[in-house]
C-alpha cells in the first residue's frame, strides 16, 4: 500500500541550511568551488538530508498550515482541545541505504509505504506502539538513490528519564 508519493527537488540552498543546522561546516555541502575539487566533484547533501523531504509533503502533519488550528501554544498552551493523535510519537530508529549521494538539481520521486506495526510493554512509558515506514527515493531515470526505514514509537505516557 502506497501512503504518499512526493516530488523532492534537491536544492543547494536547502542543503546549505540543513548542513548549518547540524553544525557541519564541511565545504562539500555549501561551497561549489571547493566541492568541485573534492572526490565527489560537486556539492552533495549530508547523509541525513533525505529526511528533509517533509518540506515537500503538502499534508505533512508536523508543519503549521494557514487557516488550520495548530496543536502548539499560542494564546493557550495548545491551540486545540485534548491531545492530538499524532503529537506524541517519537522517533525510535532510522536506517538509510545509499546508492549515491543526493546532489543539487536532483528531482527525486519519493514513495512512502507503511511497514510493520508491533507493541511492547515498557517500564519507562507504559505500552509502546511501534510503526515502521519505508521510504524510497528514485531519480528521474527510476534508479534507486536512497532507501530509508524509520520506526516511530507512541508511548502510553511521557517517557520518564531512565
Amino acid at each position: 500500500m502506497l501512503l504518499t508519493k512526493l516530488t523532492f527537488p534537491v536544492e543547494a540552498t536547502h542543503i546549505m541550511m540543513f548542513a548549518r543546522a547540524i553544525g557541519d561546516a564541511n565545504p562539500v555541502y555549501h561551497d561549489a568551488a571547493a566541492a568541485a575539487q573534492s572526490e565527489v566533484g560537486g556539492v552533495i547533501a549530508p547523509p541525513t538530508f533525505p529526511q528533509a523531504v517533509a518540506q515537500f509533503d503538502p499534508d505533512y502533519h508536523l508543519r503549521p498550515k494557514p487557516g488550520q488550528p495548530w496543536f502548539g501554544s499560542g494564546r493557550t498552551p495548545s491551540g486545540i482541545e485534548g491531545q492530538p493523535a499524532t503529537s506524541g510519537a517519537l522517533h525510535a530508529e532510522q536506517h538509510f541505504e545509499y546508492h549515491r549521494p543526493l546532489r543539487p538539481g536532483d528531482v527525486l520521486t519519493v514513495e512512502i509505504r507503511p511497514g510493520k506495526t508491533w507493541e511492547k510493554e515498557s517500564r519507562r512509558a507504559g505500552k509502546l506502539t511501534f510503526r515502521e515506514r519505508i521510504v524510497e527515493y528514485r531519480d528521474k531515470t527510476g534508479e534507486l538513490v536512497v532507501t530509508a526505514r524509520s520506526v516511530a514509537v507512541t508511548p502510553e505516557r511521557p517517557v520518564s528519564e531512565g
Binding site: E39, P47, Q55, P77, H91, A92, Q94, H95, E97, R157
Partner: protein, 140 residues
C-alpha cells in the same frame, strides 16, 4: 580523505565532540531546515504544560545528523553505503554530545573494500543517546 584498508585496523576509533551546550535555537534551526516543526522540539509552553516533559528536546534526527558528521569526517564525504541508528535517550537543551565511530570489520565484496563501523553518541553524563552502525567504501 577516504580510509585505506592497508592502514585501517578493526578497533580503530574516531571521536568528535559534535555539539557543546546544545541551544534551543539550534533545535529551532533544525526544525526549519528539516521541516519537522513538532512543538515537542520547539515550544517550551506546549511541551511542559500539555505534553508533560520537563523541557523541549532535540529531534532524534538532529542527533543522527550531528553524529553523521563524525562518520563523514572519518570515512570521507559521499563514502557511506549505509547508516542506521536507534535513539535510546532524549537529548535536552544544554547537552554536550560526543560521538565515536569504531571499525568493526574490514571486508571485500565483489572486488570492493568496505569498513563496517559501530557508532555511539553519549551525553555529558556518559549516557548513550544514540547507537548504530554504518558501512563505508574504503580504498585499498
Amino acid at each position: 580523505m577516504a580510509l585505506k584498508a592497508s592502514t585501517l585496523k578493526v578497533g580503530d576509533t574516531h571521536v568528535e565532540r559534535v555539539v557543546d551546550n546544545l541551544s534551543r535555537t539550534q533545535i529551532v534551526q533544525y526544525a526549519g531546515a528539516s521541516g519537522d516543526y513538532n512543538p515537542l522540539h520547539t515550544d517550551e509552553v506546549y511541551t511542559t504544560q500539555v505534553a508533560g516533559y520537563r523541557s523541549v528536546f532535540a529531534h532524534g534526527m538532529l542527533t543522527m545528523g550531528l553524529t553523521g558528521k563524525v562518520l563523514t569526517n572519518y570515512v570521507g564525504a559521499g563514502r557511506l553505503n549505509r547508516f542506521g541508528v536507534r535513539f535510546t535517550n532524549q537529548v535536552w537543551p544544554g547537552d554536550t554530545l560526543d560521538a565515536t565511530a569504531t571499525v568493526a570489520a574490514i571486508r571485500e565484496e565483489d572486488g570492493k573494500l568496505f569498513a563496517d563501523l559501530t557508532v555511539s553518541t553519549v551525553n555529558q553524563d556518559g549516557k548513550e543517546v544514540m547507537s548504530g552502525t554504518a558501512t563505508a567504501r574504503i580504498d585499498p
